[in-house]
């Protein structure tokens, strides 16, 4: 019985998009809205704000650093069992947190346990998504990632309502029940019925082959640089506006405007990435350059209208580059190494995400205003987009579809197959 070698680009794939949508909402929406619990923890445990902030930081760090583990496990067992286990872990972490008697309990339960749960869900899901789509991959990824934006809007007031009725213990219990839906989302991740590759080579072999893959390494460096500059506005824009004598409420409103245009940017870029012929890398470079430019222009703008326009531009372009960043990967490393590649990518680029904001804060402390911070952030983005120029297929006229049968055979490291473009880098 012959099976497909091409991804279906539809059908059950749209259900996977739905699952990814809910998963990104449940993982990142919960993380981003955790600030609501922050005040309660400070009051309940009588601890300083800095110590309470570590809860979310540990959670994010574990989620990103644990991504390769999630990817490796899903290469071996398939995405479904891994994501379902991740959902159970995440819910368990929150459940145990509701019984916490000290801050350390919360570090371990929410930070470590829920963080590992989240690590096992996000990367495998996105990789699974890439298995289902090739022509409309960017659109699918973009649609799936809109879950993050929408849930950040919805969960913050929802959590506040929960807190006013159940206090933080009861609310954590209910958030745990909410996170359990990750298990249901994981159940939807049917592995696509692509032709089975008998000698996949296992996760370790894939990892080694990836680490020797030139374009992948360059792409990782590019994304790390991009990641360093990417988060800075979300953290420091409000402070920068207050330096310019804006009131807190209009400043927060500007951030909401950026968030809305981020959402629109994700969907538009996803659609555009599939509709426009040619490699997606070019579009990614376009959006990254525009984001870098808009960031660098922030310190120059003084008038409110200029700042609003820049916020919209930044929101749109930074949202636009998000789905494409995930779409380029399958074109580089192939569908079968996607799980491994995505995990590794997340882990390395998280270094940029961790270092960027403190660096920006340090520049602010040294120079006295945010000009240097924003310009440096823009510079990071521009240098990242410069490295994208060096990727293969950048200047070619037609896009490389990842469903080439040759890709599936190159995984076994001892088989040397010379391919027209990627063969030279293969081990």
């Amino acid at each position: 019985m012959a099976r497909r070698t091409e991804p279906p680009d539809g059908g059950w794939g749209w259900v996977v998009v739905l699952s990814a949508f809910f998963q990104s909402a449940l993982v990142f929406g919960v993380l981003r809205s955790f600030g609501v619990f922050f005040v309660e923890f400070v009051a309940a445990f009588g601890e300083q704000a800095a110590r309470v902030s570590w809860i979310a930081s540990i959670g994010i760090a574990v989620q990103q650093f644990g991504s390769p583990v999630g990817s490796a496990l899903s290469t071996k067992f398939g995405p479904r069992p891994v994501v379902m286990t991740g959902g159970i872990l995440a819910a368990l972490g929150m459940l145990l947190a509701s019984f916490a008697t000290s801050l350390t309990h919360l570090y371990l339960s929410i930070g470590l346990l829920s963080g590992s749960g989240w690590a096992l869900t996000f990367a495998p899901t996105l990789a699974c998504l890439s298995c289902y789509f090739s022509r409309r991959r960017s659109l699918a990824t973009g649609l799936a990632l809109t879950g993050v934006g929408l849930s950040s809007f919805a969960f913050a007031p929802f959590f506040q309502w929960l807190l006013s009725h159940y206090a933080w213990r009861g609310s954590l219990l209910l958030v745990s029940a909410l996170s359990l839906h990750l298990v249901a989302c994981g159940a939807l991740l049917r592995p696509p019925s692509l032709a089975e590759d008998p000698a996949v080579g296992g996760p370790r072999a894939q990892l080694t082959s990836l680490l020797h893959h030139g374009p992948f390494l360059r792409y990782t460096v590019a994304l790390t640089l991009i990641n360093t500059g990417y988060f800075i506005p979300y953290l420091h824009l409000v402070a920068h506006l207050q330096d310019l004598d804006w009131d807190p409420l209009p400043a927060a409103f500007l951030l909401s405007v950026a968030a809305i245009s981020d959402l629109v940017g994700r969907v538009v870029s996803g659609w555009l990435g599939d509709a426009v012929p040619g490699p997606v890398t070019r579009l990614l470079m376009l959006w990254t350059t525009l984001t870098g430019v808009s960031l660098a222009l922030f310190p120059v703008a003084r008038a409110p209208t200029a700042l609003v326009a820049l916020a919209v531009a930044y929101g749109f372009t930074s949202g636009a580059l998000a789905p494409l960043a995930f779409s380029v990967l399958p074109e580089l490393v192939g569908t079968k190494r996607i799980y491994c590649g995505l995990g590794l990518l997340q882990m390395i680029e998280s270094i940029g995400g961790l270092l960027g904001p403190p660096l920006s804060g340090y520049l602010r402390d040294v120079t006295g205003n945010y000009t240097a911070s924003f310009v440096v952030a823009g510079a990071f983005l521009l240098s990242g987009s410069g490295i994208l120029l060096t990727l293969p297929d950048f200047f070619s006229c037609f896009s490389t579809t990842t469903s080439r049968p040759q890709d599936l055979v190159t995984e076994a490291p001892d088989i040397k197959v010379s391919l027209p473009k990627e063969g030279l880098e293969e081990d």
């Binding site: 009051a43 159940y166 206090a167 213990r169 745990s176 029940a177």
Partner: protein
């Protein structure tokens, strides 16, 4: 918000200097800004004995009225310590100033003496001085200007307000919670906490580590209750004592048992389990159907091959076509 003490109090500790300053300020125009001493054309100033002897701070406040003021003008003043108070009202009218009747009242009692009246141009000034020592002197002081209509200006003296939490505080059985009361920029002499049994206020005693009262700063108080029981829920009152009065605030405490959030939790978990079961069963069902149809097709295919083989080469073409259609 506390009113700032007037310029007189800041600069003139002795009465003689006060008189001198008043003469210097005699020709200046008065202002109706809050808190600053109005430059009044009062040339003689009777100061009472107690005001000269005490070293309380001075509070000066001013209200401006015109004949066209439609609503009574009120000023709220927060006071926590005994003070000497200097109240001034000025009334501008186009009519005859001599026909205006000026009176002062405290709450609804008319005050007989200690107020001055003076006139400049088309404005009538009146000043009332007194000392607030305890809560009896706190209240509303009003100046009245009666022509045909009566114009009124009121100074309301209140103790500082306390702020608790508007929303009820929610906690769980066995947990501990902290009730906080604070006021802005105030230093009460004493803080007390009361809990209510029905409608009776019972002071909260410090019993056996269950209740701990302390506050890091003078302007706040914290009541920590440990080992909460459901009966501990209800209304709590925090009470601040000042020299010039008392102030209190109400805080609501709700103690829930673990069953309250547990019920929705279990409901949602049951829903997730059902969902997962439904998804997996649905998939098994469709896979079974596919398997059956595939097996059927494979069976047909092998049958065809057998028959084609036996038929010979002439059937190559139809066999190819059949294979292609099955492979799609």
């Amino acid at each position: 918000m506390r009113a700032l003490p007037g310029l007189l109090a800041a600069r003139a500790p002795t009465p003689r200097l006060l008189l001198l300053l008043q003469c210097l300020l005699a020709t200046a125009r008065p202002s109706s800004a809050d808190g600053s001493a109005p430059d009044l054309p009062f040339t003689s100033l009777p100061l009472r004995e107690e005001m000269m002897a005490n070293n309380f701070s001075w509070e000066s406040h001013n209200i401006s009225l015109t004949e066209h003021s439609s609503m009574p003008v009120e000023k709220n003043i927060t006071l926590e310590r005994p003070s000497n108070v200097n109240l001034t009202c000025q009334f501008t009218t186009s009519g005859d100033l001599n026909a205006v009747n000026v009176t002062w009242k405290k709450d609804s009692e008319q005050l007989e003496n200690n107020y001055l009246v003076s006139a400049t141009g088309s404005t009538l000034y009146t000043q009332y001085r007194f000392t607030i020592i305890n809560s009896k002197q706190m209240g509303s002081y009003s100046c009245f200007f009666r022509e045909e209509k009566e114009q009124r200006g009121t100074f309301n003296f209140k103790v500082p307000e306390l702020h608790g939490k508007n929303k009820p505080l929610i906690s769980y059985v066995g947990d501990s919670t902290v009730l906080t009361c604070k006021c802005q920029n105030c230093f009460p002499l004493n803080w007390t906490w009361y809990s209510t049994n029905g409608s009776i206020k019972v002071p909260v005693g410090v019993q056996m580590n269950k209740y701990v009262i302390n506050g890091t700063y003078a302007n706040e108080t914290k009541l920590k209750i440990t080992q909460l029981l459901e009966e501990d829920g209800g209304s709590y009152w925090c009470h601040a004592l000042f020299q010039v009065g008392e102030s209190e605030e109400h805080i609501e405490l709700v103690v829930l048992s673990y069953l309250v959030p547990l019920k929705p939790f279990l409901a949602i978990v049951a829903e997730v389990v059902l969902l997962v079961a439904a998804i997996l069963l649905c998939e098994k069902y469709t896979q079974k159907e596919k398997k059956h149809s595939d097996e059927g097709k494979e069976f047909e295919q092998t049958e065809q091959l057998k028959s084609d083989d036996s038929n010979g080469i002439e059937n190559n073409v139809p066999r190819h076509r059949k294979n292609e259609s099955l492979g799609q």
